[in-house]
Subunit: 184 residues, 2 copies
DNA sequence: ACCTGAACACCGTTCAAGT
DNA sequence: ACCTGAACACCGTTCAAGT
């Protein structure tokens, strides 16, 4: 009910917000679904967002911005468990983001970097000073979260219940941390 | 150049084989590409295979059937490393299979079960007798392989080179195994 | 600058036919 | 039983226009 040239009052924020809403409803995000929710033609989104991938990037970093960072004085192992569990839960509750997160090899937004830095601090406090060793540890931990979330995000529910996956994630995370951190 | 009713001489094997060829070429598998390679209408495949997911299942188990099982007398940790590394390499060389593998929460074909059984034997020989503990260990190991392969399978090559991902996979695998297996 | 309409080049899958 | 043609219901994205 709007001709060419009539403004719809869109904004980048509104588009990202609508995308989040679409992802709450169903497991996948399509441009056309976001546009429909905004009462707008599909191609209208391209004035505010760099295609579907750009939109998913924005949504992902938006969600990561809401994650709580561990307190500066927490025990390193506890802090790392905290961050990784929170990230894992975030992915579990937004399955539609997982394939994109996977394709992007982890997030690359500013909030993702903020999380990465906080992990570096914790690792350093645990005695992992070498930057390459920190990289490896972070990559292994993030990959574990991505892999588990990806498996859990299977649309049909899958043969393995989510609770068991959550439990095995915690077990694996513990094994990885004792491997990554020097003995105290 | 074939009218309705004329046979094309297709078979399930031919379809699976064509699908493998398509996956060698590019990162994704579409029904229409497989059909084109066979010189056949897209819907002709449905006489031999249960849709795209069924076809991917068949291709995956076909590939798993070619994996070598560890010798019965190998050291458990070495054997598990062997199986998991081989599975990981398989996924690395067939990125198009990874999203499906992820969605299926690991393979469920007969060759996949064969691999699972051999892992159980190795775990038991290492002292992991409890079946639930074996399940957890296998799930963690498989998830690690899936997660790493999924990250490595990113289409654009991604910011992290495959060699580094392969190295961090090995590191993580080592951490997980020392966590999973009782101290010797 | 922002939005629309129409189009392009794809998908997987189904259905009614033909032999 | 096996295959085709046509169609359905989708995709993401681009391009030329309109204000």
């Amino acid at each position: 009910m709007r001709g060419p040239g009539q403004r719809a009052g869109l904004s980048r924020e509104a588009v990202v917000s609508a995308a989040r809403a679409v992802l709450e409803q169903g497991p996948t995000l399509s441009m056309r679904a976001v546009a429909a929710r905004l009462g707008v033609a599909p191609n209208a989104l391209y004035s505010h967002v760099e295609g579907r991938d750009g939109l998913l990037d924005a949504v992902l970093d938006d969600l990561l911005g809401a994650l709580a960072l561990p307190a500066p004085d927490t025990d390193p192992a506890a802090g790392l468990t905290e961050v990784m569990t929170a990230s894992h839960e975030l992915l579990l509750s937004h399955p539609g983001l997982v394939p994109h997160f996977v394709a992007r090899q982890g997030a690359r937004g500013e909030n993702a970097q903020r999380l990465g830095e906080s992990m570096r601090v914790l690792l350093a406090r645990a005695g992992v000073d070498d930057r390459a060793a920190q990289d490896t540890a972070i990559r292994v931990l993030v990959t574990h979260a991505i892999g588990d979330a990806a498996v859990a995000a299977s649309p049909d529910g899958g043969p393995v219940p989510v609770d068991e996956l959550r439990a095995s994630y915690a077990t694996g995370l513990g094994w990885l941390l004792t491997g990554a951190l020097p003995r105290s």
